[in-house]
């Protein structure tokens, strides 16, 4: 990848507490080009913290430090609130797990997407509406005109997540962070949504950070995978090589996943080695 979108070097997120400092992220380093990068980990691994840290969304009293945190050549560490406002939603967008909580329940879908256009692209009302409709069509919503005038509660989970994708991509960001975007969806719907996301990311040459607990989805969807555990990045590898992962944690994670194709009498359970956290 010649085109470095994001460079992260020794990113740390710490929370001061009564019993000392908690490291939510410790010395995380990676680079991202215009590619699909998966971040896999169990709960408490720091994968969601990573996404939020990149977007400057670590709540107080959390402290973010890094040797480098550059987005397309500019450091994010010195960003003011105004800088963030210009960046978020415009150049970096985020899709959350459950569209129910990310959409305003009392506003029409179309208005919410159009507002993003007007805010970030300075579109006129008419232009914003057209872009929004085009975007709804791009996420393969069959009757965009009808959905435009609907409210979030009228949508199914899969539709809601498509709307979220539409809303997040309408400003044509360079980087999309998707935090468990399909985990709340049924498997068959999940793959449809992934297909849409995949095509849009490829067509627009975006970078994608795909955060998930699901090894199967990440390894089949992404180009490259980071394995996280206890706030650390344990391993990085190409998604297709995940089967030959070297780190014992990654191997244990794969062995612990029940699979239709490789039935086992007993699933391997994990023996956690404190050395993984060194």
């Amino acid at each position: 990848m010649s085109d470095k979108l994001l460079t992260v070097e020794n990113l740390n997120v710490t929370y001061p507490g009564r019993a000392g400092v908690t490291h939510a992220l410790k010395n995380a380093s990676f680079e991202l080009g215009r590619e699909r990068l998966g971040i896999v980990g169990e709960s408490g691994s720091g994968k969601s913290t990573m996404g939020r840290a990149i977007l400057g969304l670590i709540p107080k009293p959390g402290i973010v430090t890094a040797d480098r945190l550059d987005f397309s050549g500019k450091s994010l560490l010195t960003n003011t609130d105004r800088d963030w406002q210009k960046l978020r939603g415009r150049r970096i967008s985020m899709i959350m797990q459950d569209p129910k909580y990310s959409l305003n329940p009392v506003r029409k879908i179309g208005d919410q997407i159009a507002e993003t256009c007007r805010l970030h692209l300075g579109s006129t009302r008419k232009d914003a509406e057209q872009r929004s409709l085009a975007m709804l069509e791009a996420v393969q919503i069959r009757n965009p005109d009808a959905v435009y005038n609907q409210y979030p509660h009228q949508l199914s989970g899969g539709m809601g997540q498509r709307v979220m994708i539409a809303m997040m991509l309408v400003a044509e960001p360079d980087l999309l962070i998707a935090d468990e975007p399909t985990s709340a969806l049924d498997v068959t719907v999940q793959n449809e949504v992934l297909r849409i996301l995949d095509r849009l990311v490829a067509d627009r040459g975006m970078g994608l950070i795909f955060i998930s607990h699901n090894l199967t989805v990440v390894s089949s969807f992404c180009d490259r995978v980071l394995i996280m555990y206890g706030g650390r990045i344990l391993e990085q590898c190409a998604a297709k090589d995940l089967g030959e992962a070297r780190h014992p944690y990654t191997q244990a994670l794969i062995a612990a996943t029940p699979s239709l194709d490789h039935p086992k009498a007993e699933l391997a359970t994990m023996v956690r080695d404190p050395a993984w956290l060194l």
């Binding site: 989970g157 498997v187 068959t188 793959n191 199967t216 089949s220 969807f221 699933l267 391997a268 994990m270």
Partner: protein, 254 residues
């Protein structure tokens, strides 16, 4: 020998503010003693509803619903209740927040007036791999995996022949899920349990069950052996789609 659970033409209808939803539409299956039967489906397929109807938690209609050869009444007696126990999906919601593990395990024993309570509690904890030190903790002092172990111990402390499991591991991390699945399959063999497991995850169901029913829109699409499912020897398109989807994302050639 009669099957442990036999269901013929089960219907469940919910009325929701004047609108009625026919959630389960004529489901029939039977489960032999010691068998482990899986039900797979997506959300809204009615799979959990079937399980709740079998347990008597929600009212249902059927041509016949027998457990252990006896018809399961609409109002179940204490003795009926002892035949089957239920493990819920969310280990955070299935334990009383103000009761210690000890109290949670003692309650079924005192409801059914069993003796040697302390001994039974200690044994139940040991069975599910919990230590004596866990006995007096409150749920908030336990991890998700430990809570689910408590829920399983509580379900088995009455020694029911049938265990109903509703997505028992879907709220847990993969590594914890593996531990719980191993635990369930070990307990099943040790206690000769008959199991009905409901899950959206084909891998999980295939791991634990011999026979699997695939449900969609309140009906059973087909019932297959696990070996046939793994080998793709299925007759219905929907089953094929589920299998394919569970293998992960497939990129279309551009």
């Amino acid at each position: 020998m009669a099957p442990m659970i036999d269901i013929e033409d089960l219907h469940v209808t919910f009325s929701n503010g004047g609108r009625s939803v026919h959630a389960v539409q004529g489901v029939s299956f039977s489960v032999e003693e010691g068998e482990s039967f899986g039900i797979v489906g997506e959300s809204g397929s009615g799979k959990s509803t079937v399980l709740k109807a079998v347990s008597g938690l929600i009212p249902s209609e059927s041509r016949s619903l027998t457990v252990n050869g006896r018809p399961a009444a609409e109002r179940r007696s204490k003795a009926d209740r002892r035949l089957m126990q239920f493990v819920f999906q969310d280990p955070y919601a299935s334990l009383h927040p103000r009761q210690t593990v000890d109290e949670a395990l003692r309650e079924p024993l005192s409801i059914h007036g069993l003796d040697r309570k302390d001994e039974r509690i200690e044994q139940a904890l040991a069975e599910v791999g919990l230590l004596p030190e866990h006995r007096f903790r409150y749920p908030h002092q336990l991890s998700g995996g430990q809570r689910q172990r408590v829920a399983i111990a509580r379900a088995l402390i009455l020694r029911p022949p049938v265990l109903l499991l509703d997505e028992p591991t879907s709220a847990l991390d993969v590594s914890v899920q593996a531990e719980i699945l191993n635990l369930i399959s070990r307990l099943r063999q040790a206690n000769k349990l008959t199991i009905i497991l409901v899950s959206h995850d084909l891998g999980v169901v295939a791991h634990l069950c011999n026979r699997i029913a695939i449900m969609q829109f309140g009906k059973i699409v087909e019932v297959v052996n696990t070996a046939d499912l793994s080998a793709g020897r299925v007759t219905q398109d929907y089953t094929r789609r589920l299998i394919e989807a569970s293998r992960g994302f497939v990129r279309e050639p551009s």
